[in-house]
Subunit: 366 residues, 2 copies
């Protein structure tokens, strides 16, 4: 597939001066999909102006790659398919994430490591804090830092004049956070209502189709929708963490997952699902937050939804958020079944924001 | 209600230096609601940073107000409730729109005059062209200029380094155009599908509830949803014009209303509506556009929609747009029953964009 000259140079590790240097923490599904998209300038022709160069890919157990002139992404992907970055790769090293964040030279850190609820978002919170403190922009696809330490981290970002972005944390690349930053100015978000977790929504949908919960979970795992241990989704933790990210970022409020009235779908029986269906209704795991004068109230709870309610149309892995403001009638943003490129696009959109920010800053300084 | 000091000064016609000067063309429902919101710094506290001052309000038949230091908005609203701006108002003059656009000093022109299909968007197209040519930013709530002359006008805006914005033209203040500018960068919009006209959707909804079309139209008129002459909505013109605005702005394609395969709801019978309902379906006026390599194909047509299709949930005056891109699964933006503040907020969001643009430009020059 044809690549633009810029893209070709970036892929080969020869980086023009105006390229943005990115450090990638984690190389799981999301990180790899991001790199696949960035290295394919032919298919996604509108990405050719992004001008990003990955100068480090750091993994916990599969080695790391570092090259200040830009990593050969095609080679990285190809090696990783065999399990690890190759020992023969000249960029191969064993730098760990914390040292990479502290020592390498980069414009933006992209955090894609897994969320830890028990660790209250650590160690990612530390990585983000360190990067921001070094005047580097941060994009996180990991919900931990924004669910557990939003106000602290955002204060550092403001102080340092850099961005902390997280579009991919909720509903993947579907515009939510950047949309709110740019398109809801002057409006105050007063409450939120949504279906945010795909696994639990998929399981409830399959139970409506006649499966038992166990059968539905097994199917979801087979299809790659649910994790091996799906309890994080089924007990409502994923929904809770996402709701916190939304409340923190859209409502300028302060809440952490342990303050949410959290319920999951684990106690729901086939009978309950079928009884609702016979009454023309649907059981959905609904997230709700209301901003009062004092503090936000937030809950995650299975709720009976009318057939013609818009939330009833969220099928399979879809997600939906209804946003209430002080000035407009409520509006809804919804995504249909997302795939990995959807999540990676959330990061890409954030990279465009960082690019603008850097360019503005450079122009002002010069 | 308490007002910020800035707002109070603006209302009284004493404008600090960093205020953005706005010229308002038209003072119908939308223009008046905008001015009501802008003059109420208490209720909408997040608007206090907008720093806009209206230096001219131009009407066709009710006189005009001009004051380079800012018009007294409270007085303007109060006078207009009696039919015209008062002869005793020191700012009162009889400047017409074209001369105002050509001669006054302003940073942004806000065009809220009615759309003319027969006139192919004129005279608003001329006002917009003149303002842009004078290096002034333009916000239009009038769909005419963007449906009929998008590419010409956008080329002038680019050449002059100013903005041409139109968030309020489709789905009021619900984020669509500014969302796409900021949040879909690097993605290519490949097709669109939507319910865009509230009157026809309301009439179809009432026919489902058992009314005849005539009864539904009369009710819609009583409720202020439909115009005295509702044919523009019922024959699909409003949907068509909105679809053109979307195609021109989101897909970077070139289409005008006369190139759309346009159908309205006028031929739909109660029997058709009820038959669909008995089959568990809903008749909806659906707008569709597909971007091929060559040119866009667009149609507006009554379509049978499945009960659990998301379009079925658009009730009353709601609207919905489904956006397909090359990189993500499709996503949906939808609004529930909008009121006048919704439309005015579209303009307010554009004003924030213009403010940023001016501030950036000023910083660069300085």
């Amino acid at each position: 597939m044809a690549k633009s000259p810029h893209m070709r140079r970036a892929v080969r590790g020869l980086m023009p001066k105006n390229f943005m240097k990115a450090l990638l923490i984690g190389f799981g599904n999301v990180g790899r999909t991001l790199v696949e998209i960035l290295s394919d300038g032919g298919q996604y022709c509108k990405l050719k102006d992004l001008n990003v160069s990955i100068i480090g890919i750091i993994t916990k157990n599969h080695g790391s790659l570092v090259n200040s002139r830009g990593i050969d992404l095609i080679r990285a992907l190809s090696e990783f398919r065999k399990g690890n970055f190759a020992a023969a790769n000249p960029d191969r090293c064993d730098l760990d994430a914390l040292n990479a964040v502290k020592e390498l030279e980069y414009d933006v850190m992209i955090e894609t490591s897994p969320l830890s609820i028990e660790g209250k978002g650590e160690p990612a919170v530390t990585y983000v804090r360190e990067a921001l403190s070094r005047n580097c922009n941060v994009i996180t696809a990991n919900k931990g830092p924004v669910a557990f330490a939003y106000s602290e981290l955002m204060a550092i970002a403001k102080d340092k004049g850099v961005l902390l972005l997280h579009e991919a944390t909720v509903m993947d690349g579907t515009p939510l956070f950047n949309m709110a930053r740019h398109c809801l100015r002057g409006a105050r978000v007063t409450s939120l209502e949504g279906i945010l977790n795909s696994t639990s929504n998929y399981v409830l949908s399959m139970m409506e189709a006649g499966m038992s919960m166990d059968q539905a979970i097994t199917l979801a795992q087979k299809m790659g929708i649910a994790e091996k241990n799906p309890m994080y989704d089924l007990e409502g933790w994923d929904s809770t963490v996402k709701l916190c990210v939304l409340v923190n970022a859209l409502c300028n409020a302060k809440i952490t997952p342990f303050e949410v009235d959290r319920n999951g779908i684990t106690d729901i029986t086939s009978d309950q699902v079928q009884n609702a269906l016979r009454a023309g209704k649907h059981l959905k795991l609904i997230c709700k937050a209301k901003l009062d004068e004092s503090s936000p109230r937030a809950e995650v709870k299975v709720t009976e939804v009318e057939a013609r309610d818009i939330f009833s149309t969220v099928k399979g892995q879809g997600a939906m958020l209804k946003i209430y403001t002080d000035i407009m009638a409520p509006f809804v943003v919804s995504q249909t079944d997302p795939t990995l490129p959807d999540t990676a696009y959330g990061i890409i959109n954030d990279l465009f924001e960082v690019k603008d920010h850097i360019s503005l800053h450079t122009n002002k300084a010069g």
